[in-house]
Amino acid sequence: MSLTPDRPSVPGSTGGTGVPLLRATGLRKAFGELEVLKGVDLQVRRGKVLVLIGPSGSGKTTVLRSLNALTPPDSGVIELDGDRVDFGADVAPRARAAERARLRDASGMVFQHYNLFPHKTVLENVIEGPVVVQRRPRDAAIADAEALLARVGLESKRDVYPFQLSGGQQQRVGIVRALALKPKLLLFDEPTSALDPEIVGDVLSIMSELAHEDWTMVVVTHELSFAREVADEVAFLDGGVVVERGAPADLFTAPREPRTREFLNRLLRPLD
């Protein structure tokens, strides 16, 4: 099985410059007194990769978690493949739960700390969503899962429990679990931050394969080399706003904003 998303419309049909798959407008979020997002706009076209960078506390993870309503914004609009959710609108609780569920149905997420289900085997982790929620035939889901596990080199681990895996292996299962849902959008929340440096590359190379296979991805990461090589667009967040966004070639070589420059300098030359 290819990792390519099997959707009727892959890039080209809607055009790389057509309507964005994802558009977020005016995302605002406060935790008590603390304003974490102060009006964030972003969009991702189908098959493209958006990488969010920024100092810790900049709001980048909150933005990502807004996109599937794990952290519902206080206000703002998210449009995902034609489905529009207005978080500021006054909606009955049941309808609100339904629209959040739709956002989650359309996306898959990879967590910093993997969050695999510890009481389920690798295979069970992967087929849980497809079988239990999407009601796909169990045999087909297992076949897909095995193919995906083989792609990330974990076919021999299908019947072990997560605690028997290394961090890098767990994260690969996390990626496969998200892929198995066949989502329109893949969200990555600092997927390599909890990994030992020598295995970060394994996970990043799988992610860059996915990017080349036309998955639409939003990635929060500190791995600037990944952003530079894989991203179609990079957004730099600071203080709850998008300070600057652009193609990685532009943003990394000629940042317009002083704050961006300062951040990049600190990350690229930490010992200066």
């Binding site: 569920a101 700390h113 969050n115 510890p118 009481h119 849980e128 929620v133 429990y161 997560p162 605690f163």
Partner: protein, 220 residues
């Protein structure tokens, strides 16, 4: 020591255990667990009325003696026109008791599961209730087995209180024979031994259950 009496009384006492104590404990525990889960979910619910009601039930159950609860149901309710026979009275009182104590155990167990597990459930498109059932409760079960086993073992011993509302069970059989034979020491020690044997069996079951539920946890 009257070995003949010890032997002869063993039959009725064991029968009291098999027909009274054990089914009373099993049925009350099963019903009590269902109740406990309901109260625990109400307790952590965001709906204020529910969590307040759950807190109230837990407080009353834990704050009043089981014997008094038993007497209120069996001797008290008839004055309100509600007469419940001994066995059902005992089952009601014991289930509510397990419900109150079990609710706090289950609540703590649910809260002990990391928030990331809820989120992971949501991101594979599960609803809150599906995540609770398939992701959270199985993990909470592992955590709650030791304390719930404690509750169950306490319950087995507490069923002896049912003898005071005329339920035929282990201790009441022992009492009857003791009164008749005047061999109080012998009969009560014998009753104690039978309770102990039952609880030894339960501890063994608990050990196996824990081992089974621990299969997915790293042992360092």
């Amino acid at each position: 020591m009257d070995w003949q009496l010890a032997w002869d009384s063993l039959g009725p006492i064991v029968r009291g255990a098999v027909l009274g104590t054990v089914p009373l404990a099993l049925i009350s525990f099963a019903l009590g667990l269902v109740l406990a889960l309901g109260i625990a979910l109400a307790r952590i619910s965001k709906v204020r009325v529910l969590s307040a009601a759950a807190r109230f039930v837990i407080s009353v159950v834990r704050g009043t003696p089981l014997l008094v609860q038993l007497f209120v149901i069996f001797y008290g309710l008839p004055s309100l026109g509600l007469t419940i026979p001994p066995w059902p009275s005992a089952v009601i009182a014991f289930s509510i008791n397990v419900g109150g104590y079990g609710a706090e155990i289950i609540r703590a167990a649910i809260l002990s599961v990391p928030a990331g597990q809820w989120e992971a459930g949501y991101t594979v498109s599960m609803s809150r209730s599906l995540t609770l059932r398939r992701i959270i409760l199985p993990q909470a079960a592992r955590v709650s087995v030791p304390p719930l086993s404690n509750t169950f073992i306490s319950l087995v011993k507490d069923t002896s209180l049912a003898s005071l509302i005329l339920v035929t069970e282990l201790f009441r059989e022992a009492q009857k024979i003791a009164a008749f034979s005047q061999e109080f020491m012998l009969l009560y020690i014998e009753a104690a031994v039978v309770y102990w044997v039952i609880c030894l069996g339960l501890s063994a079951v608990q050990g196996r259950l824990e081992k089974r539920l621990d299969r997915y946890v790293a042992h360092t």
